[in-house]
């Protein structure tokens, strides 16, 4: 039983990271109906920048703030320069373009910093607490707190601000939004900015747990795609819940299902995706606008 709770807690911590990246994917998808396969690699670039600032002697907290803001600009820039020109193109075109973003940003990190792994500075103190035999580290608690703050901030912006209303309206219908005087394109641009910052948060959380490398976000992207599919592609709440479920399923499955084990744990998000697509294709919290192709 102690083992179960230990795995549950650990799973929630990884799940929170998947949830952050899934949130970034969902933010973009509900506004522009685009799956940004480059989201993880954009986050990797941001994480490298944060690491580089730390190497140059900038305190970690400050460098995270700077790069968080810079990531926002990166998202805006990618939208203006890359996505807007193909916004009227077919889905296939846009998929290839975002796959191109994936390749581009991964190659950029490799070119600038090489393939060697770097140690990302820790954001949370080392220690932890034993609660009835279950070890809760400060880093686990910190990750969950960050996710909670992120979710609360997002929720509050969407629910209570004029900007959030405009972003939700733009996601619902660009034509109806134009007719009430919302500058829809600007909202989409801001959406890409928010998503890039959210993706960076995911990368900054995962950085200290792994090492920094140009491919570090690839598995996370896979888990995030599964989380978004599980939660529903047009639901930010779904992305959060989906991420946590995938994290816990991974952690429990790798230990309690002997035929999976630690080596095959990547099967779990794929299995989750498969099952949800068979059972409820819109996801747990998605609305029922599924197009058959």
């Amino acid at each position: 039983m102690v083992l179960f709770f230990q795995l549950l807690i650990d799973g929630l911590a990884s799940g929170a990271i998947y949830a952050s990246l899934a949130l970034a994917l969902v933010l973009i998808f509900r506004a522009t109906r685009i799956v940004n396969f480059g989201q993880g690699e954009m986050a990797t670039l941001s994480a490298y920048c944060a690491w580089q600032l730390c190497e140059w002697g900038v305190p970690i907290a400050l460098s995270l703030l700077i790069v968080g803001a810079a990531s926002f600009l990166l998202g805006v820039l990618v939208f203006r320069a890359v996505i807007k020109p193909v916004s009227k193109a077919s889905t296939e075109t846009v998929v290839v373009v975002t796959l191109g973003l994936f390749v581009f940003f991964q190659a950029l990190c490799l070119w600038l910093w090489g393939a060697d792994q770097r140690a990302f500075p820790a954001m949370f103190p080392g220690g932890g607490w034993d609660i009835l035999g279950v070890r809760v580290t400060a880093s686990t608690l910190g990750i969950l707190l960050v996710l909670l703050c992120l979710a609360a901030t997002m929720g509050a912006i969407f629910r209570f601000t004029r900007l959030g209303l405009a972003m939700r309206a733009s996601a619902y219908s660009s034509e109806k939004s134009l007719l009430v005087g919302i500058r829809v394109e600007r909202m989409l641009m801001l959406g890409w900015g928010f998503a890039a910052t959210t993706g960076f948060i995911a990368a900054a959380l995962v950085g200290p747990r792994l090492f920094l490398s140009p491919t570090m976000m690839m598995p996370i992207l896979l888990y995030a795609l599964a989380s978004a599919t599980l939660g529903g592609w047009d639901s930010p709440l779904g992305a959060l819940v989906g991420g946590l479920i995938v994290g816990v399923a991974e952690s429990l499955g790798a230990t309690f299902l002997p035929f999976i084990g630690a080596d095959l744990r990547v099967v779990i998000p794929i299995a989750v995706t498969l099952v949800i697509l068979l059972v409820r294709p819109v996801g747990l919290f998605g609305s029922s606008t599924v197009v058959k192709v």
Partner: protein
């Protein structure tokens, strides 16, 4: 004085033009009906006017050339467009729809006042202010669409087929509201309709469209009594 002057307006979808150099004016403080059969180009005119569709020609609204303006700017200038199928946000609450309608208004106090004002005109909406717009009945949704448009304090309200899918009694109620907006607030309205008989009873002037052009225009009362017009254009 004309609040809207349209000269040689052409617009369409893709390579084909639906409108062929249309000319018409809307006088300030009147109700103008734009009538015609399905596919005549009525909706295309409204979409070109609100900037949802690129167009050629001159569109002057209150002294401004609208073609230089983004759709959002046109709303700020006082042009409101209720599209066919209502234009409400189905998964927003009634109150959020009204808040979205007031997006171009910066003054929070004014927004709150306007909201209460339209709630008193549409008590059904006040009762359902926390309810999702998508769950309202057709008539309630049309009222919400109307209130949503009024929240932007328009100078010219354009409404595309308000009677579509509504029971006759509710349609009549909507037109009574149009009339009172015009009587009490001097609001200018441009109403696109297929229901010619009812619309002509409320309108001051009317235009009849046929195949992308305006073929008949005149006072609504004249069109209503002109049997030749009735038979050939309005299918009565």
């Amino acid at each position: 004085m004309n609040i809207l002057t349209v000269r040689d307006l052409s617009a369409g979808y893709g390579a084909t033009d639906v409108l062929h150099k249309v000319n018409f004016t809307v006088e300030q403080g009147t109700i103008v009906a734009l009538l015609g059969a399905n596919g005549a180009g009525k909706t295309t005119i409204l979409r070109a006017l609100s900037g949802l569709l690129p167009s050629r020609g001159v569109v002057e609204f209150g002294g401004t050339d609208l073609r230089q303006c983004s759709p959002a700017r046109r709303v700020e200038l006082g042009l409101a467009h209720i599209p066919q199928g209502r234009g409400t946000f189905g998964d927003f609450s009634v109150e959020e729809n009204l808040a979205a309608g007031a997006f171009t208004i910066r003054d929070k106090k004014q927004i709150a006042e306007d909201m209460e004002r339209w709630y008193s005109v549409f008590p059904r909406l006040a009762e359902r202010r926390r309810q999702q717009a998508g769950s309202l009945s057709g008539g309630e949704q049309q009222m919400l669409a109307l209130a949503r448009a009024l929240m932007s304090r328009p100078k010219l309200l354009m409404c595309d087929e308000p009677s579509l899918g509504l029971a006759p009694a509710i349609t009549e109620q909507i037109f009574e509201i149009f009339k009172s907006l015009n009587d009490e607030h001097g609001m200018t309205l441009l109403i696109v309709e297929q229901n010619a008989d009812l619309t002509l009873q409320f309108a001051h002037t009317a235009y009849v469209m046929e195949a992308g052009d305006i073929t008949v225009s005149g006072l609504a009362s004249e069109l209503l009594s002109n049997e030749a017009v009735q038979q050939s254009y309005l299918g009565v």
